[in-house]
Assembly symmetry: C2
Homo-oligomer: 596 residues x 2
């Protein structure tokens, strides 16, 4: 299940499951204040979300200087920011970009989205204009495992149900655009295959936003002459679509269309690539994605603006929210708080080397999220024992934290550690984490945003501002000009601290071919387990000298990166024996039950 584990992280709904439920925070009335007098205990995420006093989305937009006409409403609490409005922002100065990343994820939960939302609220609380930029969750996995991906506790974005289900239809639009291209490919072959596509070498599959393992591998076009030429193909889940990555990297509609045209759908018998442009598919696909490219505005529980837009996989893609959303937010605020998928070895590296490189973004500070519990697991403790104090385990596990902190230094961006507080944490454990951070010239700040909202994260907010005041010395890890495999080696050695970095001859040949074809300047997108710096998900802490073997490479010519795969990649999940869909229903008053 290595492949499966690679998959899970990017859907962001397997996290924070083990958060101890605080039954009372009567000694601290911050959450009560934030949410109104009816709320006297810290309830479940969904109960808190339902009790939220949402403002009309136009009022949230006003805070950012967006007039009501420039918001395209979806209901009363969601809106897209119109492309026309975004165009008019071009000459404005940019705010500062803050990345929230984390140690390697564990089943204990780290709370990266929660901290991203909390920090955004915290910055607003201390008088700064801050916007949160996070990814959109995928619909399909909601019906597999009880989920929800919009923060937690008193640091959430709302409306939670809608964001997790159809939201503003972006993923449906991506599904449609992807499958239009798929249909055009088989249709082209059906009508005579003028382009000479080698049907054995069609790499473009179909997508569905559903966990459906039966569609992973299929034979299509059965049933005789009128249905075409049978061939092997299959479906991925929508978030794995290259179009998802393209939507998240495109600067505007013209760039989107260009990238869609660049998609390689397969190869001829002479191995020359066939592009989506050759099928004249790019125009219609752009039409289908026209609305989806506009970022979605929602709000936090504290009525601060959040842009929730795009959600590419963090393995075969770069795992960040859209460039359009991030750039728009930078024009509208002093601080933009965003997150990247998985731990810093994967998420932050891709954020810097793919998103920031390609979009010309300069991050000003990084927040590295850790929990005492997760560090204890990294230090060797079993999940069932995490309730017990164990400073030694924290100290051992902090090697993982230290390694990430060191790595972040290589990108020239100042970093601070956020300790996302759990009620079971002891003072000694917290002090141990703080000491590790201090030793490395950084600092660790204890944060209570989950239980207290913005009131619990003021210290971190001040610290982040202080870091961001410095001149950013940001640089990517490797230059565009390096050979593709050298880029892989650089990441593996500098970030993963690997020893031997190997690849089969076929992989090296493929990379050489792409370099010849003019793709050598692209960044590489690593697909590796998120649970370890190594390719072995059981190797926690801070391993060194391990081997990294690249067993497959893929070219995402539209998105603009080469994917290097170091394990099994699962791009279509399945459902468990008892899927959560069995317990999802509409309750009294039309409320959705069982989704979270």
């Amino acid at each position: 299940m290595l492949g499966w584990s690679i998959w899970c992280g990017s859907a962001r709904r397997w996290k924070n499951r083990n958060r101890p439920l605080v039954t009372s925070v009567a000694e601290d009335d911050a959450p009560t204040k934030a949410l109104g007098e009816t709320q006297v205990t810290v309830a479940s995420d969904i109960e808190i979300a339902r009790a939220a006093r949402k403002l009309p989305i136009q009022t949230v937009g006003e805070k950012l200087g967006i007039d009501a006409d420039s918001l395209i409403p979806f209901g009363h609490d969601k809106a897209k920011i119109s492309a026309g409005f975004i165009d008019r922002l071009k000459d404005r100065p940019d705010g500062k970009l803050i990345l929230v990343t984390a140690i390697n994820p564990t089943p204990a939960g780290e709370g990266k989205t929660t901290t991203t939302v909390g920090l955004g609220d915290g910055l607003n609380r201390i008088g700064k204009r801050a916007v949160i930029c996070i990814r959109e969750p995928s619909l399909g996995p909601c019906f597999g495992v009880k989920g929800g991906a919009a923060g937690g506790g008193y640091a959430q974005v709302v409306p939670m149900e809608e964001i997790n289900l159809h939201f503003t239809g972006d993923f449906h639009a991506i599904t449609s655009a992807h499958n239009l291209l798929s249909a055009l490919i088989d249709n082209h072959v059906y009508w005579g295959n003028e382009l000479g596509i080698d049907t054995r070498r069609i790499t473009w599959r179909r997508v569905m936003d559903m966990n459906d393992r039966a569609l992973r591998e299929i034979v299509s076009s059965l049933g005789g002459v009128s249905n075409g030429y049978p061939r092997e193909t299959g479906f991925d889940i929508t978030v794995a679509s290259e179009i998802m990555a393209i939507l998240c990297l495109a600067n505007d509609l013209a760039d989107l269309e260009q990238r869609l045209g660049n998609i390689i759908i397969g190869y001829r018998r002479d191995k020359s690539p066939v592009f989506a442009r050759d099928l004249k598919a790019d125009g219609a696909m752009t039409v289908l994605l026209k609305e989806a490219l506009q970022p979605n505005l929602v709000q936090t529980l504290e009525n601060n603006p959040a842009l929730v837009h795009g959600g590419p996989f963090a393995n075969i893609a770069h795992g960040c929210n859209s460039v359009v959303a991030t750039k728009t937010a930078l024009k509208l605020s002093d601080y933009v708080v965003t997150e990247a998928g998985f731990g810093a070895d994967l998420g932050a590296e891709k954020f810097f080397d793919i998103k920031c490189r390609k979009a010309g973004l300069t991050p000003s500070a990084v927040v590295l999220v850790a929990t005492v519990r997760a560090l204890k697991m990294n230090g060797g403790m079993a999940k069932e024992d995490l309730g017990q104090e164990n400073v030694e385990a924290v100290r051992l596990g902090a090697a993982n934290l230290a390694r990430h902190l060191e790595n972040l230094g290589k990108f020239g961006v100042p970093a601070v550690v956020a300790i996302n507080h759990f009620v079971s944490d002891t003072q000694a454990e917290v002090d141990c984490v703080k000491a590790v951070a201090t030793e490395l010239g950084s600092e660790a700040v204890l944060c209570h945003h989950w239980a207290k909202g913005s009131a619990g994260i003021e210290e971190l907010a001040h610290k982040v501002i202080q870091l961001a005041e410095k001149d950013s010395k940001f640089s990517t890890l490797y230059a565009d000009e390096l050979p593709l495999f050298t880029k892989v080696e650089t990441i593996a050695r500098e970030i993963y601290r690997a020893g031997a970095v190997t690849a089969d001859k076929a992989v090296r040949q493929q990379l050489a071919e792409w370099e010849m074809q003019g793709y050598g300047h692209l960044p590489v997108c690593m697909a590796k387990t998120q649970y370890s710096f190594s390719t072995d998900p059981t190797l926690r802490g801070a391993p060194v000298g391990h081997g990294v073997h690249v067993r497959e490479v893929r070219l995402s010519a539209g998105a603009g990166f080469v994917v290097a795969i170091t394990g099994e990649i699962m791009t279509m999940p399945g459902l468990p024996r008892s899927p959560s869909s069995e317990r999802i229903f509409l309750g009294q008053g039309g409320q959705i039950e069982g989704l979270f």
Copy 2:
């Protein structure tokens, strides 16, 4: 291509293609007035739609007494009417229901939707409160043949592009709910098949809103143990989903959930049915469809309210807009103008015998749409010759019109003929149609709504009001208690005027089994070519004594009807050699080009 022809009609985008373009109506300024001073000639449908002066959707809602809070906006020109608001209408009296139907369709075009929209505008023009209820178009076919299904000329609903593409996401929601059930079926089998589903007898397929012939027949679950048990299956286009029919027949969310649970997904080895309820899928599917069940409010070019909601096939389903939309419109207005798919032999019959029967609706009047051109084709003229006057051909073809008029009388609803005017029509031809109608105790009214908007259809509006004033003597064609095959025979004899009505032994046995299982009370839904009263699409006019052979029957236990199939049924279209997607793109200013 019989099957294909059965398919085409219900997507409503192969119509009005041959409308002669009027280059100037300078002698009549009605359209100019309706649309503003920049409009001096009758332009193409899309040019007219773009020049529309839309009101904010809240203003359109106000006309119906819907407060802004009860509208769920999708942009500034589309909204859903909230379920809560609809609940509060229960005790209001109903307005009168007017059905617009047509003669058998021909390549000449009849203009049923155009007349529906025009009549709605006409009723508003003469001071009545009228709402238009039509179906939502399907996205997939837009990329095959240049299309558009929102009326034409100066009788259109807007925003045209959005209505034809993602609109408010209803079809995407239906796709998701359908495919969730599909995934749950294979997942159930994968984990041990506790329900004992016979995988050879799974009737529930998957759907996609795309013309993709390669997916008609597939083998799924290939690739080994982790992907499940391989089996033959396939995809239909979303409008063919039983869930589409269910959404359109459900009275409310509780009814929707009940019907979803009633869906038969396949059979056990002992042929006992397995229901969606057995897979505990109904709750989650209802959650996915919660928003989609709320009707969509848009406006006509003249700013009158139109509900565009639901779009089931008119062959394997009943081809009408949603019951929720129709019932809501009846509570909000004095007159509701709606249409049914195909000609009156299919569309009107199903409207009366399925929709009205099940929803308890009592139609007050019927408008039978015809064009001189279509009657000439029915009278034997070739399409290329339609520009020439030919009164004899009109007289011959009017046999088709006369037959439909007679048939409508069997349902006890008064009917009037609307002659949808084309510039090539001569006075003698029009007079001939009028004479035929008069002979049958009805009346034919010449309508100019396409060129003049509401100003061109006042006479029809007055006539409809006059008819609707009478007490409706509406009755369905057959009683619930009749055996299923007797219902088929009744429709074939009374409406199609068939001679022998036959079916294979297996079909009769299947019907008997369903009667034993308690489905005998259901209405039947005929799947027949729309081009003829007979099952032979080339047999125009008013044939009698032809044979009708039922070659297959299907049970839609969730929707609540038995489908009787009299030809090949194509439930997944393909794309043409040069699909229209090749010419669709975003033009200057982000306008969609090539879609219409």
